[in-house]
Amino acid sequence: MNERYSRQTLFPAIGEEGQKKIRKKHVLIIGAGALGSGNAEVMTRAGIGKLTIVDRDYVEESNLQRQQLYTEEDVFEKMPKAAVAEKRLRAINSETDIAAVITDATPDRLEELVQTVDLIIDSTDNFETRMAINDISQKYQIPWIYGACVGSYGMSLTIIPGMTPCLHCLLKKIPIQGMTCDTGGIIAPAVQMVIAHQTAEALKILVEDWDAIRTTFTSFDLWGNQYTNIKIAKAKDDGCLSCGEARTYPFLQNENLMKTTVLCGRDTVQVRPPAKQQLDLARLSEQMQASGYQIKGNPYLISVEMKPQRIVVFNDGRALIHGTKDLSQAKAIYNRLLG
């Protein structure tokens, strides 16, 4: 018995056989924020054969409250999250092959990244990427685990192509104007709770214990002492465009992606959601003010100070991010604000 994993192989549902399977598998984690850093650490400690972690951000001061692989020094050095994660994960387990990819997880990049992957753990902060992961999962028959949290609230769902409904079956369309960690805040215990569910499901998938898979949509509120499991089997939709009979993988198609353009001669990026939306600007403005942001506005737009950037949001969902020329940064800011 390898002493290192002895407490894990003692657990009968894993055992020596399960540990051998874990050692042969490749997990892809999209995002190295709160969920991503925690999921990556659990997977690495568990002895996964290969782990690829993808993130476009660098470590910021406000991350330290809940993102478990990072230290003050990483903030000071403005290090990319994926690079710091890789270094720490290697110090934790030199037996795991760790690959850090500093990139924006666009559908094109995702298609390249999943080629040898056995499982995708969602740790992103926006539904656009999640829906792309969901399509990719169906296209290449790779299980994925949805996880998300805000405030003290969170949720998790295991999606196994051919066995469970997919996220598109459940959500029908991308939810807009949801709460985000930048508007509703987030406490670390909610992050840990989602990680607990995602990594338990990950281990079940890696050891191929299909009977143990959670077939419910789990959501909880740790501060409100709520916990519920919703049965979802009947949500499976034969007409679903992501997993149904006439599937088109809509969220991999260019016309359904968010568009970003640097405005000519200006330090500004325009972000345009794939479909026109009808935002409730008054309510959005209220929410942002409650979150401590400085807001100016009129019935057609609101302007939000997020130093060093300033974001102008129009009621059709379009936005201008002033103070940057970086497309993926602009998209990140947009997602953080508007979910």
Binding site: G31, F127, A148, C149, G339
Partner: protein, 77 residues
């Protein structure tokens, strides 16, 4: 009677975690309109619903005694 159960920020918007109300015979879509107009729930459109802990579609009909849960999907991570 029916019991409505609100999760996360919907609880704050509704002002209570649970609500007793008779909506038997109505569809989930009709109930969504009611809680949106009468109980101040916003963005109810993209909220997931469950009847007796089972996923429910907009056209599902609520029976006497059913408990309906409102679960907003979130995107943070």
């Amino acid at each position: 009677m029916n019991k409505l159960l609100f999760f996360a920020h919907l609880k704050d918007e509704a002002g209570a975690e649970t609500l007793s109300i008779d909506v038997s015979g109505k569809t989930i879509a009709e109930l969504k309109t009611i809680v949106s107009e009468q109980h101040g729930l916003t963005k109810i459109d993209s909220v997931m619903t469950a009847i007796n802990e089972e996923f429910a579609e907009d056209d599902d009909i609520i029976q006497q005694g059913d408990t309906i849960a409102f679960i907003p999907p979130v995107s943070g991570g």
